[in-house]
């Protein structure tokens, strides 16, 4: 796998496009700020949400059992999946039982994580993603680049060309209104003919045994209420103890995600409709392992709003695809090392550790601190790239010896002043890439300070 840094370098090669991407996401961040500032109790809500999730994680076994018992009482079929394979097999089993050939799906990062679409398609099922952004990238055969705005990396001209090829819209037509209308007509046909609908889950309520799904397009409901079989796939961490906690989380979610005061639709599913069938699949897939890591278990509080991506200076300038995982950005970078430390060892370094992600997180996950902690573990376990490992080793030696340190400072100031450019700016000096090295100061702080005191 290519490192994040390499893919980011490719991304920023097209400067105007990188700027456009950066600004599009910053626009969403600004909307989030406006929405959150309109709520005086915002910080109190974040604290509450974080503490509710603390309680959930500490009592998850009990809550899940309570949730299952209530869901069963509601006439819902409940399934448990230990991993992605298990999950995919369960979903396919339900579809097979009903002889389903065509399904519609609304957005679910969990099913992306489990690669459900690929699995079902291999087994001969037509799978149609119905969120507009997801349909766009499905037609383009690309993974999502953002968890809330999956096609944020594409320009309208690209969507226009794609729709021209796949949905026969007019050549050269790029108006978002026109393209969205074409998708609406196309998707309505898919909704009407689907035999089952699959959704993700935003919140699962232990007290009532129901699930809550939030969308703006109404696509989850168009699928669920038209198809005879509805399947909701959720990670074990989606639990909230009581209905009243939704008051806290629905106030935080959309404001953090897109700056809206609430999503257009907040749907509460408790029982199948007459003649219908409702299934809930509860999935672990590595979450219980993460629960056991004291330094990282807070990452399970995530409600998938994407605020940490929109604010991240690295994400905005490297794009979601550079991370090589379903969930990119700061939150992805603390989830992935727990899945495969070696494969994703570059991601915790895709950060300036500025802490903006932690500041905007609606459930107060200490994202930047976890990024730093993963870096330490990656170094301890020997997964640093050789150049970084060597330079760290030398830096440690120099920093441990005052004489060496003083000498190194002098040499650096001398080099910056006297060495010809080619010796300073070359492939061995990462810090000289795309930027000017600083003007050398006349003296070091250590030299300056005693004189100042005297």
């Amino acid at each position: 796998m290519k490192e994040h840094a390499q893919k980011a370098a490719e991304f920023i090669r097209n400067e105007s496009r990188a700027d456009w991407h950066d600004e599009a996401l910053w626009f969403v961040r600004a909307k989030r700020d406006k929405a959150s500032h309109s709520i005086p109790e915002w910080e109190q809500l974040r604290e509450l949400a974080s503490r509710i999730k603390d309680n959930v994680l500490a009592g998850l076994d009990g809550y899940l059992e309570q949730f299952e018992a209530n869901a069963l009482r509601n006439g819902v079929h409940v399934h448990w999946a230990a991993d992605a394979e298990d999950h995919n097999r369960i979903v396919y089993g339900i579809l097979q039982k009903h002889g389903v050939e065509r399904i519609v799906k609304s957005k679910s990062m969990l099913t992306e994580e489990c690669r459900l679409n690929e699995y079902l398609i291999e087994n001969g099922i037509e799978v149609v993603d119905t969120d507009l952004g997801e349909r766009i990238i499905q037609l383009k055969e690309e993974p999502p680049s953002h968890i809330v705005m999956p096609a944020i990396h594409l320009k309208k001209e690209e969507v226009g060309e794609l729709f021209h090829q796949k949905l026969h819209t007019e050549k050269g037509a790029t108006g978002p209104q026109y393209l969205a209308e074409a998708a609406r007509q196309h998707l309505r046909q898919k909704f009407l003919s689907a035999q089952a609908a699959i959704t993700g889950v935003n919140f699962a309520i232990a007290e009532t045994g129901g699930v809550v799904v939030c969308t703006n397009e109404g696509n989850a409901d168009m699928g669920v209420h038209l198809a005879p079989v509805q399947i909701h796939c959720m990670g074990i961490e989606k639990i909230l103890p009581k209905a009243e906690h939704l008051g806290v989380f629905t106030r935080l979610l959309a404001r953090s995600a897109t700056g809206q005061p609430i999503t257009i639709y907040t749907s509460h599913y408790h029982r199948p409709r007459e003649g219908g069938e409702m299934h809930i699949v509860i999935v672990d897939n590595g979450r219980t392992t993460q629960l056991g890591r004291a330094d990282f278990r807070n990452s399970l509080k995530c409600i998938r709003c994407g605020a940490c991506m929109n604010t991240c200076p690295i994400y905005r300038r490297s794009g979601g695809h550079s991370y090589g995982y379903t969930i990119p950005g700061p939150i992805g970078s603390i989830l992935t090392p727990g899945i495969d430390l070696k494969k994703y060892s570059g991601l915790p370094f895709a950060s300036t550790l500025c802490g903006s992600c932690s500041d905007v997180c609606p459930v107060k996950i200490n994202i930047h601190e976890q990024l730093y902690r993963w870096r330490q573990i990656i170094a301890e376990q020997g997964h640093l790239p050789p150049a970084k490992r060597q330079s760290m080793k030398w830096a440690a030696r120099v920093l441990a010896r005052p004489v060496w340190y003083n000498l190194a400072g002098k040499m650096a100031r001398w080099a910056l002043k006297w060495l010809p450019r080619p010796l300073l700016y070359n492939r061995f000096n990462e810090w000289g890439k795309d930027r000017e090295l600083p003007e050398p100061p006349k003296q070091s702080f250590k030299e300056w300070y005693p004189r100042k005191q005297a």
């Binding site: 969403v28 005086p40 109790e41 109190q44 509450l48 509710i52 603390d54 309680n55 994680l57 500490a58 998850l60 509601n74 448990w80 999946a81 507009l132 952004g133 766009i136 320009k155 969507v159 393209l179 969205a180 209308e181 998708a183 609406r184 998707l187 309505r188 909704f191 009407l192 309520i205 009532t208 129901g210 703006n216 397009e217 109404g218 696509n219 168009m222 209420h225 209905a243 906690h245 008051g247 806290v248 106030r251 809206q260 005061p261 609430i262 999503t263 257009i264 639709y265 907040t266 749907s267 509460h268 599913y269 408790h270 029982r271 409709r273 672990d284 392992t289 629960l291 056991g292 278990r297």
Partner: protein, 192 residues
């Protein structure tokens, strides 16, 4: 099986118990929740109008949608042009121009309206219709989501939801498009 495996892993790995915080009641700040609600509905791309009685309700619907051929509603006070009972298949439901449903509760802070399958006649109606009208008693408007969840019981019916406007998307270059997969417009008629 998987269930036991998952629960055992949680028990082994979970942190020590911490108490569940009691959310305080956050008071509303608006002097007129009804006006705040109406302006949030408009901000969300919807429309809010008033009607004095059942007669005005029907004339308002007619005035708002003069060309609508198929107006369907489970509400007894609304005069539909087509009976919901006659529309059984999804394909038939898809031809509805205007659906009029009842809202149980409005939320001033975000313009959301709580409604359930009992108020809709058919679960898919508020989504599949081209245009959605929700009739709401202005006396049933609360300040915020905390109060809303105190007033409703989410599992009283098999399906219930908050609706806060017409279906929308910004998935193409962040340009707002009203009328994604669900209703193209949403009008709240405030009627006592």
């Amino acid at each position: 099986m998987s269930k036991d495996k998952i629960l055992a892993a949680i028990r082994k790995n979970k942190p020590t118990e911490v108490p569940l915080p009691e959310p305080p009641s956050f008071p509303g700040r608006e002097s007129s929740p009804v006006e705040a609600f109406a302006s949030m509905v408009e901000a969300g791309g919807g429309k809010a109008v008033r009607a004095a009685g059942p007669e005005e309700l029907n004339t308002t619907i007619k005035r708002l949608f003069p060309k609508a051929e198929k107006v369907a509603s489970p509400l007894p006070e609304v005069r539909p042009t087509i009976e919901l009972d006659h529309l059984s298949s999804p394909a038939e439901l898809e031809t509805i121009d205007v659906a009029v449903i009842r809202g149980q509760l409005g939320v001033a802070e975000n313009g959301a309206i709580w409604t359930t399958e009992e108020d809709c006649g058919h679960r898919v109606l508020p989504f599949i219709t081209q245009h959605l009208v929700i009739v709401l008693n202005p006396g049933k408007i609360v300040d915020n989501m905390h109060q809303a969840y105190e007033h409703i019981q989410i599992d009283a019916t098999g399906f219930g939801l908050f609706i806060a406007g017409p279906s929308k998307t910004a998935d193409i270059e962040q340009s707002l498009v009203i009328g994604a997969q669900g209703a193209r417009s949403m009008t709240v008629i405030l009627k006592e």
